[in-house]
């Protein structure tokens, strides 16, 4: 059970770290975050079914495509509300989310699709446990990417610029950092991370236009647990969510259905008890 919880948290942290980037650097709580994940999943599915490209191998293509899309969305809409009231920003991304989801329904219908990769059912025996190969691979990659992002933020010039902008927009611009470009970059990166997470979902689960919202909400839960905009707490918060979901699934009768509610419950409790987040 512990292992299932941990494995699941890999995908969660990859999804949430993207959202945390958008919230932390730009200050935009992006309700459409999960929709980019959904588009990434469809892209992965489509590349696999039409061209036989393995979703994992297609990750660079998908990431680039979703990065461009995210950048375009930023230029066309997000950029115009940066100085607007917070609620207007929220409503705009909420509208984007509804728009993208229904666009996907119009284009591809609401039916779930499954990409069957050759190694989908393969499992590895690790000690007394049997673990699915796709789950292991996804966990490893997701964690590597999340940690990679931390390294980029911590060590490179761009990463440092992003952190500077996150701390103080005006101060950063006085130091000669092109704030607008950093925002564009951060938003594109944020959506690209969601897109990558989406392509990984193609490996394990079915793809449908409705998955976006679910992941947006789970990413919210994780961010609320970590503290809004706290990028570093995301990994721990993902573990909290992944483990509590696995716990409910295993120990509560009919746990599968209840597990769906775990993250909402966590949001409610954390917001009411400690709105600053647990890991801050």
């Amino acid at each position: 059970m512990l292992i299932f919880g941990v494995l699941r948290s890999g995908l969660y942290s990859l999804t949430s770290v993207g959202l945390a980037l958008s919230v932390g650097v730009i200050g935009i709580v992006n309700f459409a975050h999960g929709e980019f994940l959904m588009l990434g999943a469809f892209l992965g599915y489509w590349l696999f079914v039409s061209y036989g490209v393995d979703p994992l191998a297609a990750i660079p293509i998908g990431a680039a495509a979703i990065f461009l899309l995210g950048g375009a969305v930023y230029q066309l809409s997000i950029r115009r509300v940066l100085r607007a009231p917070e609620l207007n920003q929220m409503l705009l991304t909420f509208g984007l989310s509804i728009f993208l989801q229904n666009l996907a329904i119009i284009l591809w219908t609401g039916d779930p699709r499954v990409a069957t990769v050759s190694y989908k059912a393969e499992a590895l025996a690790v000690g007394p446990f049997t673990l699915g190969v796709p789950q292991l691979v996804v966990f490893g990659l997701a964690m590597a990417l999340t940690i990679g992002l931390y390294a980029v933020l911590g060590g490179t010039r761009v990463g440092k610029a992003m952190r500077a902008v996150a701390q103080n927009r005006l101060g950063a611009s006085l130091l000669g950092i092109d704030v607008d470009r950093i925002y564009l970059l951060a938003f594109g990166l944020s959506t690209a991370l969601a897109g990558i997470a989406g392509m990984m979902i193609t490996l394990q689960l079915s793809v449908s236009p409705f998955i976006g919202l679910l992941y947006t909400l789970k990413a919210f839960a994780i961010m609320v647990i970590a503290g809004l905009g706290n990028i570093n707490g995301v990994i721990y918060a993902s573990l909290v969510l992944g483990l509590s979901e696995a716990f409910v699934e295993f120990y509560v009768p009919q746990g599968g259905g209840w597990a769906e509610g775990v993250f909402f419950f966590l949001i409610l409790v954390v917001l009411l008890v400690r709105p600053r987040g647990l890991f801050r």
Partner: protein, 324 residues
Amino acid sequence: MTGRALVRGGLLLAVLAAVVVLPLWVNRTQPYYLQLSINVLIFATLALSWDILARTGQLSLAHAAFYGLGAYTSVLLTTRAGLPIVAGMAAGAVVAVVAAVLLGVLTLRLRGIYFAIATLAFSETLRVITNQVRFTGAATGLVAPPLLGGHRPSQYLVILTILLALTLVSWWVNRSRWHFAFTAIRANEEVAAVMGVDVVRFKVLAFAISALFAGITGAFYAHVFLFISPLEAYSLAVSVGALVAPIFGGLYTTAGPLVGAVVLRAGEEVLRSTVQRGYPIIYGFLLAAVILYMPGGLAGVWASLAARIPRPARRGARGEPAGS
């Protein structure tokens, strides 16, 4: 009474008469339109009751929670306890109000985005619970007894009465001292409190009024469509619709949410017959478009149009930009 007031009153009466008579008259040949009118009125009631809460600066994503609570309470009481439907609907409204007061008190400290996320979590938690518990019919849902023997014209008059009552309440709120309290809280809670506004009381009161109408509308919907399920009664689409209509029509006004609801539902009907699926795309598109290009909604457009026509007798435009 001045001449203008007479004209206004006459116009209002004419609209009212048309709203009462037209759908019933059309019903003789095309029952579909009466059904559609009922849907529009349900939608309009949700939109306007959401707006009353929003006037205190609380942009909620929990409207579906009160709608669903009203529906489930009424159906459970009428089917399991044998209560008459009217009593069930009243109980549905009461339960919604109690839940709203609880949620309102719990979320008092939360602002903006935190408030929105917490209310969404509340609504979805209720859905998950209802989906799991056998007593509430779990995922399969419940069959509801028909209101007034399923007589559509009478049902239409019931929802019309509910909406008219809500319209009066909303109109009164915007005319009375409450208007200033609500606006002050929305603009700045701390300042409002310093000025002597009882912030807690007004925020919770707005929650209660808003939930009262959402709850009774949910109960009405259950007894008109005769079936409820967690996915539909607690649907995020309900909360979304209740939020987009006022924003599109014009926030914090009485007419804005009503007009927004009618126009949106009409647009949705057109899309429904052309693209068949994914028609809620109109909500997303309009929401984004309004935020980007017409921050006052239809009411804002109306006000700026009216401002261009010089008319000294006019008492200034009352439109207000979104999120101010």
